[in-house]
């Protein structure tokens, strides 16, 4: 039996986090979803997730800050930033030059296209 890939979704918009969770679960993923980045961080368990799907513009803790903190707990955590904001790779490198992230998924996107991006990132060794 093949183990389901496990995704952590963090997006402060309840409609988005719940629908992405539902959409990904229908596509065979196991998903934990949070609307509060601080709660996502405090409950984060290292080594569980195959991929983090994280919004950038969030209150209390933005996506970049959340990822930086998660990296302290789980250095090999894979991430895709999922954003409606015009912040891309170059901007990210300016703010966090030591963090290496290349997966930025731009909203709006259909669940079927999101699944394609996620599978590509999961297969990216």
């Amino acid at each position: 039996m093949i183990a389901l890939k496990k995704i952590l979704v963090v997006d402060d918009e309840p409609d988005i986090s719940s629908s992405v969770k539902r959409g990904l679960e229908r596509n065979g993923f196991q998903v934990d979803a949070y609307t509060d980045p601080e709660k996502a961080l405090s409950e984060f368990k290292p080594g569980i997730y195959d991929l983090l799907l994280v919004d950038i513009r969030m209150p209390k803790l933005n996506g970049f800050e959340l990822y930086r903190e998660i990296k302290k707990k789980n250095d090999s955590a894979k991430i895709c930033f999922f954003t409606a904001f015009e912040v891309y790779y170059e901007e990210f490198k300016k703010v966090f030059p030591t963090l290496d992230v290349k997966c930025f998924i731009r909203k709006p996107i259909t669940i079927s296209d999101l699944v394609v991006h996620i599978n590509a990132e999961l297969n990216n060794k």
């Binding site: 402060d12 209150p59 709006p108």
Partner: protein, 240 residues
Amino acid sequence: MQHNKNRLSDLTEFINIASHEMRTPVQSILTHAEFLYNRPEKYTQEYAQIIFRNAMRLQTLCNNLLDVNRIERQTLKLKKEKFDLTELVSYIIQDFKSSIENSLYDAKNIKLSFESAGEIIVEADKDRISQVITNLIDNAFKFTEVGSIKITLEKKDETAVITVKDTGSGIDPHVLSDLFSKFMTISVKGTGLGLFVSKNIIEAHGGDIWAKNNSDGKGASFIFVIPNNSSGKYKICIKS
């Protein structure tokens, strides 16, 4: 040149924020429309509500953008009529309560209440005053997770005074003086247009609007005053 550069920088920042505010509800609309398209038999009512709620959010953004354009071109006209402000606020409160009951608004931990001194007839643009009150209550919900939002309507001399008082996170004192400026936003949500538009609408009625943190340290109050028989301008004048 520096002035133009600053304006351009402001404009670029605004386009970034406005595009974020458009894409976010579109994401929810797109996903739930996709669910309905693929499996129309399941959760139809819930998905329709989410699509409706996010479409309304887009509508508000579009209206605010158009209003800013009208304000800056000085073409926003008031259509004045006599009406009972107490009745108007009651309807608005009822709409908010219905939205909460129908899960169109996520505000189950907030008590919404209204107190009025009775009938208060004003001569004003009913739709525009409604827009301002709705904007203030909507903002109060954004910054209040638990507690209450209380709307009070009073008659003072020849004016009507409306106060929207919440028990939310309050206002950073550093931004209080700029709160009604265009593009001023104190959260990661919003374009910073709603209060700018509200201020211009109230001033066009010959009134005034301001905000303050509550003296008990919990939350903020937004207050506006309009004359009962407004002789305000029919066109909005921009203050430099």
